[in-house]
């Protein structure tokens, strides 16, 4: 597993909002099942002293850090406040920051990520479902019921498409080490390259499913950067140019970032690319066969 384990204490920013409250409940249900620490503190400015599902809420991240051992955070605050939330956590010294919030202005994201980088912390997202390491830890909103523990890492720019892939893997008897959504925005913190580096140093992970989509070229950069065996799937073969396909970052611009050329480049790099999600489990089995 990467970016944390059952012993990682998690802080939730936006703890008293509808989303924050709902997902603190789910994350801590999961933590109880696996014997993990789960969410140990919440932050909502002005709501310090309240409790959410038995979790203490603080006014600031620094106050929460004084009382708890916190290694990661999950952000659910509204878009206009999310850049600030990332910077507050980086400033307080939190190592891993998962930002679930969607619709953050790109300039806010650029500033926040740039600032967080100077503090040496790792931002996952924004506009992402977070991560789940089966049997260890859930940081974010992924539906735990579909997951099973194993040796395959999954990295994706998407949410439900990731769950679809995980569902296929689990049904096929292929368990996962860590499943991580890096986010659907044009500017994101941890990219395929960063996450693949983490996976390369993770003894549990033997192969990776890399789920990309139209827009940019981060998939190719990622695949090029690692020696890990990879199976890829790229969504958006049928996406017309200059249309945002749901995610802010899923857009073919100036003839760049279209799915077909992405797939061609990945295949040229020797990465098998599935034409359909349902082909992925068999392709993973083939990989293991070649590498055993």
């Amino acid at each position: 597993m990467i970016y944390g384990d059952r012993n990682t204490g998690i802080l939730v920013q936006g703890a008293t909002g509808r989303q924050g409250e709902f997902h603190i409940g789910l994350m801590n249900t999961y933590a109880r099942q696996v014997g993990g620490k789960g969410v140990v503190a919440g932050v909502t400015p002005g709501k310090g002293g309240q409790q959410v599902h038995g979790v203490q809420v603080y006014n600031t991240v620094k106050e929460a850090m004084r009382d708890h051992d916190i290694g990661a955070s999950v952000i659910f605050v509204p878009a206009s406040a999310a850049g600030d939330a990332i910077m507050e956590e980086a400033n307080a010294g939190i190592e891993t920051i998962v930002c679930i919030t969607e619709h953050i202005a790109v300039h806010d994201t650029m500033t926040a990520i740039s600032y967080a980088r100077t503090d040496g912390c790792r931002v996952i997202g924004p506009n992402c479902p977070g991560l789940l390491s089966p049997g260890e830890v859930k940081m974010g909103i992924m539906p735990a019921a579909l997951f099973s523990r194993g040796n395959v890492g999954v990295i994706s720019r998407s949410g439900t498409l990731t769950y679809e892939v995980v569902d296929e893997l689990t049904r096929a008897g292929i368990g996962q080490s860590t499943v991580l959504g890096i986010g659907g925005d044009p500017v994101i913190g941890q990219t395929f390259v960063d996450v693949l580096e983490e996976f390369a140093n993770d003894p549990q992970t033997k192969a990776v499913v890399l789920i990309g989509e139209v827009g940019g070229n981060l998939e190719e950069e990622g695949a090029k950067s690692t020696d890990l065996p990879i199976v890829s799937y790229i969504a958006g073969v049928s996406a017309p140019p200059d249309k945002r396909m749901g995610h802010a970052g899923a857009i073919v611009e100036g003839g760049e970032g279209d799915a077909r050329s992405k797939i061609a480049r990945l295949r040229k790099q020797g990465v098998p690319v599935a034409s359909r999600v349902s082909e992925i489990p068999d392709m993973i089995r083939d990989l293991f066969r070649c590498h055993c």
Binding site: F22, A79, S80, H103, I104, A105, V106, H107, M110, T111, I113, S114, Y115, I141, M142, P143, L146, R157, S158, G159, T160, L161, T162, Y163, E164, D167, G184, P186, V187, I188, G189, T191, E213, V214, G215, G216, N217, L218, E221, Y233, A235, G236, V237, S238, A239, P240, D242, K243, R244, M245, G246, H247, A248, G249, G254, G255, A259, R276, V277, S278
Partner: protein, 361 residues
């Protein structure tokens, strides 16, 4: 959202970047009042929201005598299917040299990226292919307020210093206007100094509110209707309507339709946790496209409940058949609700899509 040329030019003019004398007109009758200021060499540019406007006949040259009839004929035209309602009438520049300047969001470095080349006058994609070294690049830390002088010197090469001032000003525009792209192409040198002959600014859709825009003009009527409900929606011209939860899953459903030889009519992502009321709106919107013969619903319920979605589909009460795949929360209840006539429930997205393609071919 893409600003129109005259809007982009108004923005950069406010920041002190010289633009040619010009006037926005909505009828050729408004033109004579401006002829004295425009002089004898005039260019008429249709302000339509499409790319490749010049090649499509949207930019016409004129002189004092021909300006009014030329504008008249341009107002009668359609550029790539769009009527010409506004024309920017500008003084034509005496071009000595053309440069290319753009500032974008670089996904790789997660920072603003400035591109500048002295070899303007050619499409930038062609320069990038044939002479990539001619395109100079600078990556800025978003925390910087100004471009450091050493970076400017590197960018400029042998280009005159006054262009450095334009680059600095355009960087301000880029930062303060929440731009995803700020481009001047061409940036031209004339005997009277440097001018932005064209300007393009794309404002981040997620920042439209704080930039003072109330509507996103890039959206079609149905896309705008979808946005009101918080859906992502794109039209694609085929006969299979597509609804999913989550952008990636919905996109993968479209791709599967193409894989099996079908053609999707549209893409609608209802997002997470949709209740029956939202689903009803979504189904009606997708069904309202005249070419839609059948609708595919691909649902992977985490926080979305399958029975809520089933209720929404039934409440929508549309003439087209709905072929659905439900997985996840309250799956059994959802399947039971959708067992009536006009609905078909299958187990996987492959099966659902295959069935829809058969039904439309």
């Amino acid at each position: 959202m893409k600003l129109r040329e005259y809007e982009a030019k108004n923005v950069i003019r406010e920041y002190g970047i010289p633009v040619p004398a010009g006037f926005l007109i909505r009828s050729e009758n408004e033109l004579p009042a401006h002829l004295d200021e425009l002089g004898d060499r005039i260019v008429l540019k249709a302000q339509v929201d499409v790319g490749g406007r010049g090649k499509a006949g949207g930019i016409l040259m004129a002189d004092r005598a021909t300006a009014v009839p030329t504008a008249h004929s341009l107002f009668k035209k359609e550029i790539k299917g769009l009527p010409v309602q506004e024309i920017l009438a500008e003084q034509r520049l005496d071009i000595q040299h053309e440069y290319y300047l753009s500032i974008t969001v670089d996904r790789s470095s997660k920072q603003p990226l400035i591109l500048f080349t002295e070899e303007g006058g050619v499409e930038i994609e062609i320069t990038a292919r044939d002479n990539p070294a001619a395109i100079r690049k600078a990556v800025l830390l978003p925390l910087m307020r100004d471009i450091p002088p050493f970076m400017l010197r590197d960018l400029l090469g042998t280009a005159p210093k006054e262009i450095g001032a334009v680059i600095n000003k355009l960087y301000r525009v880029f930062c303060e206007k929440d731009a995803l792209l700020a481009e001047i192409n061409p940036l031209v040198m004339t005997p009277c100094g440097v001018f932005a002959a064209d300007a393009k600014i794309i404002v981040d859709d997620n920042a439209l509110g704080r930039q003072g825009f109330t509507v996103n003009r890039d959206l079609t009527e149905r896309e705008a209707e979808a946005e009101k409900h918080g859906f992502s929606y794109v039209e694609l011209g085929g006969s299979i309507g597509v609804i999913g939860n989550g952008a990636g899953l919905t996109m993968a459903t479209l791709d599967l339709i193409e894989f099996y030889g079908g053609k999707a009519a549209n893409f609608l992502d209802v997002g997470g946790g949709a209740e029956s009321e939202r689903v009803r709106h979504a189904v009606r919107l997708v069904a309202s496209v005249p070419t839609v013969k059948v609708i595919v619903v691909n649902l992977l319920g985490g926080i979305t409940k399958c029975d809520e979605v089933a209720k929404g589909i039934i409440d929508a009460d549309i003439p087209q058949k709905v072929i659905a795949r439900f997985a996840g929360t309250n799956e059994a209840e959802g399947r039971k609700l959708l067992s009536g006539e006009g609905y078909e429930m299958l187990d996987t997205m492959d099966l659902v899509v295959k069935r829809a393609v058969e039904a439309t071919s």
